[in-house]
Symmetry: C2
C-alpha cells in the first residue's frame, strides 16, 4: 500500500451499506437539532417531522437552501434592531455571548464575499480537512507551508486546523510576499504546500528564476480554483504531487482527490445529493449504460454547530460510478463542472433555471430540457430543447411555447430532440451569445 493510499481512519473503508445506514440514522437527530437551535432552519423545516427523515427519499423532500437565500436571511437579520439580530441569519447554533440564540462559543468567525459570515466551532478539525490532507500524503511531523489568506475568509484556517489534527507544523505564509515566502521555503524546507495551485506555480517559477531548487517540497493540497491536468503535470515535473479538494466555508470538506486520480471521494461528514439545477429534486437514476446526470451539488452537513440541511452549493458535478481504486468506499463525484446558477438576461428580463424547471413540471411528456439562448444581445433567440419521456403528442410544441411565455414573459421556440441527445453538462440554460 503506497503512502497516499493508507486510510485516515476506518470510516473511509467501511461497507457502503454500513455508511448509508449510519448517516441516515443520524439524520432525524440532526434535523431535530437544526429545528431546535437554528431559527432559520426551524422556519425552513416548519411542519417537518424530524423522526421521519430516515431515508434519502425523505431527505429529498426537504427544501434546498441555496447560498443566495443564506445571504438574504443573514442580511435581513443583520438589519434588525431587536435582540433577534445576529449575523448568521439564524443558521448557526453557535456564536458568542452577545448573541442570545447561540449560547455556545464559536472559535472564530469569518467574512466571505457577499458579505456572508461563517462560524467555526471548537472541534479541532472543524472543517474535516485532515482527511483530504492525509489522502494527499501529509503525515504527522510534516512542515506545511500554507499560502491561503488568513484574513477575513476561512481558507487558511481550514487547511491549518486539518494540518494540526494530523500533527503537522504550519508556516503561515498567507498571500503575497512572494520573495519572503520563498525565503521561508528555502530556510524551513517544508514537505508540503497548501494553497491555490496558481500561487504554487508562481513560487516555483520565482525559485527557478533565482536558481533555487527545493527537493524537500514533495506534496500539495490545492483548492480555491481549478487545477487543470496540465498544471498538475507541470507541478509533478518539479517534484510536487498536487491533490485537489473541494470544500466550502459553510460545510467544510465535501470531496477530495486520492492517489487513484479518478474524481473526488465524498467526505465522511456530509451527505451529498446531485439535484437538477433550478429544482430541489435529485437527478434521476441513469438508464443502463448512461452516465449519471450532471447537476447541482447539495450537501447535508452532519455538523451540529452549523447544521445545514440540503445546502445548495451552486456548484455543478455528477456522480462518478464505481469504487475508488484507493480502497475508499464512499461515492465519488467528478469534481467541479461549473456553476448551477445560470441566470441569464434576455431582452431585459431575467430567466433562471427554476423557470425552466417550472415549464418542464407543467408538461409531463418532457423528460429533460435545455434553454438555449443564441444570437446577439438585443437580437437574441430563445429555444427550449426538450427530450420526451414517451411518444410526441399532437401540438406539444405549441403548448410548451405558450407555457414559456406564461412563465418567462418572453417568446421562445420549442425543439423536440432525440432521447439522450442533450449534453450532460448540468446546463439548464445555455447562453451561447457572444457578449462583446
Amino acid at each position: 500500500m503506497s503512502e497516499t493510499s493508507a486510510a485516515y481512519d476506518a470510516l473511509e473503508r467501511r461497507d457502503p451499506a454500513t455508511r448509508e445506514r449510519a448517516q441516515l440514522a443520524a439524520l432525524p437527530a440532526m434535523v431535530a437539532h437544526a429545528q431546535a437551535c437554528a431559527p432559520a432552519l426551524a422556519a425552513i423545516l416548519r411542519g417537518v417531522d424530524a423522526a421521519s427523515i430516515t431515508s434519502r427519499a425523505a431527505l429529498a423532500r426537504l427544501p434546498v437552501t441555496r447560498k443566495s437565500a443564506l445571504l438574504e436571511l443573514q442580511q435581513a437579520s443583520r438589519s434588525r434592531a431587536d435582540t433577534a439580530r445576529e449575523p448568521f441569519g439564524g443558521f448557526s447554533a453557535i456564536g458568542w455571548s452577545a448573541l442570545v440564540a447561540a449560547p455556545r462559543g464559536a472559535r472564530r468567525v469569518f467574512q466571505s464575499p457577499g458579505p456572508i459570515y461563517e462560524p467555526e466551532g471548537q472541534a479541532p478539525d472543524y472543517w474535516r480537512i485532515a482527511r483530504a490532507l492525509f489522502a494527499a500524503g501529509f503525515r504527522a511531523g510534516d512542515l506545511i507551508h500554507n499560502s491561503f489568506s488568513y484574513h477575513l475568509t476561512p481558507g487558511a484556517f481550514m487547511m491549518e486546523t486539518g494540518a494540526h489534527a494530523i500533527g503537522c507544523t504550519v508556516f503561515a505564509g498567507g498571500v503575497g510576499n512572494t520573495e519572503l515566502q520563498l525565503q521561508a521555503m528555502g530556510d524551513l524546507q517544508p514537505q508540503g504546500y497548501t494553497g491555490t495551485p496558481s500561487f504554487l506555480k508562481i513560487l516555483l517559477d520565482k525559485a527557478a528564476e533565482l536558481g533555487i531548487t527545493m527537493p524537500w517540497l514533495r506534496k500539495a493540497l490545492v483548492s480555491g480554483e481549478a487545477c487543470p491536468p496540465s498544471l498538475r503535470d507541470w507541478l509533478r515535473e518539479r517534484g510536487v504531487e498536487a491533490y485537489q479538494c473541494y470544500a466550502t466555508a459553510d460545510v467544510g470538506l465535501i470531496a477530495y482527490e486520492t492517489a487513484a486520480r479518478e474524481g473526488l471521494v465524498v467526505d465522511e461528514g456530509v451527505i451529498v445529493e446531485i439535484v437538477r439545477p433550478g429544482t430541489d429534486d435529485p437527478v434521476p437514476e441513469p438508464a443502463p449504460g448512461q452516465a449519471p446526470e450532471v447537476g447541482e451539488v447539495v450537501v447535508t452537513s452532519l455538523n451540529p454547530d452549523y447544521p445545514l440541511i440540503r445546502f445548495g452549493t451552486g456548484d455543478l458535478s455528477a456522480v462518478l460510478p464505481g469504487p475508488c481504486p484507493s480502497g475508499r468506499t464512499n461515492t465519488r463525484i467528478r469534481g467541479w463542472m461549473g456553476r448551477a446558477d445560470q441566470t441569464a438576461k434576455v431582452r431585459g428580463m431575467f430567466v433562471h433555471p427554476g423557470q425552466v424547471a417550472e415549464i418542464v413540471r407543467r408538461h409531463a411528456e418532457i423528460a429533460r430540457a435545455r434553454l438555449v439562448i443564441a444570437g446577439e444581445m438585443a437580437n437574441d433567440r430563445m429555444t427550449l430543447k426538450v427530450e420526451l419521456g414517451g411518444a410526441e403528442r399532437e401540438g406539444l410544441a405549441g403548448r410548451v411555447a405558450e407555457t414559456i411565455r406564461d412563465v418567462t414573459k418572453l417568446r421562445g421556440e420549442v425543439e423536440i430532440c432525440a432521447g439522450g441527445s442533450l449534453p450532460n453538462d448540468g446546463k439548464i440554460i445555455d447562453d451561447t451569445r457572444q457578449l462583446a
Copy 2:
C-alpha cells in the same frame, strides 16, 4: 473591584517573596533543560552548573544572548549542509520530524524580519497573552476583532491564542482591507479590538467619515508600536479603553498595562532584569531617593519549548518602584523607552555600547559614563562624560582618553560630571549629530 482589576489567576496577587522563590526554584531545571535540549544554549552555557543557578546573582553571571547573536547563529545553522542544519540555530527544543535535534512538534513556525524564525509550541496560550487581555477587560464570550497580520510573523496568533484561552471568539481581520474590516465590525459588533493603535485610529476615522458609530466596541489591547497618551485619550473619547502590552515573538508576554495606568506589570512566566546597555550586568540598586537606572530589558523565559536564558531584547526600560494599585504584586516597568543597540559610526568606525562599557571597566573610579557624539558628519566630536564613584584622582581624564583611543581607535575627550547629572535614559551612546 472593577471589571479590569479582577485577577486572571492567583499567581498575579501572590506575595512577591513567594513568586521570587518559585521562579528561582524553577531556574536550575530550566538551565539544565536548555543545556540538554537546545544545542546553542548548551554552547553558551558550557561549564555552567545548572544546579547552582538559584539566585538572581547567579543568573546575572550567565551571558546575555542578544537578538543579533540569535540571528547570526540561526543563519550559520541554516547554511550548514549536514544533519545539524536547522532553522532555529539550536535555540528551540521543538520543531518537526525532519529536525533531528527537535523531536517534539511545533504548532506553527514564524518568520520575523532578519529573517529570524520562531517556533510556537502546543501549549494553548503559548505566548501567555491571555493575562494581558484579561487585564485589558477581555472576558469569555467576547468577540475580538484582531487586526494584526496573520502572515509570516506571529503577532496575530499571539493575540488569538490568548483570546481563545480566555474563551473569546476571534474575527481574523488582518491588515489592510479597511472597508471590509469596518463592515465586519458593523455586522458582527465585536466588544474588543487587538492590533496596532494606529490601525484602530484608521478604522475609527473611516467609521466617522461614513457616519458609523460602534457603541459596542469598548476595549482594546494594542501592541507593536508606541501608544502615546494623546492617542489613548483620543480612543477613550470614542468609547474605546485601550491597554498596551509589551511582548516579543521570542519570549511572548513580558509586561502588560493594567487599569491602574502606571507602567506595565511584568508577566508571571518570565524573569526580567534591567542591564546596562553594552554589558551583561544588571543596573545597580538605586541610591535612596533616586530613580532606578534605565537599561536593556533582559528576559529569562520559563518556557521549556524555547528556553531562552537571559535574552537581550534590545529594548530600554526601567523598574518603576512600588506596587501596582490594581493589586498585582509583580515588578512594574516603565514601558518601552527606546533601543539599547546604540551603535554609531564615527569617522568611518563603528562605536558600540560594549566599547563604552569596556572603557568604564578599565577605570574603577568611573561609576557611569555616556559617550556624546556631536557636530556634523565628517566633523564630529566624541566626548565621554563620566560620573565618578569617589573623588577625582590626578590625571584621570588623560588616562581615560588614552583608553578611549585604545578601545575605539578614535580620539575622544573626557568630561568629569557631577554625580547624578547624567540623564537616566539608558543612553550609553548619545548621537546628537544632525544627519541631513
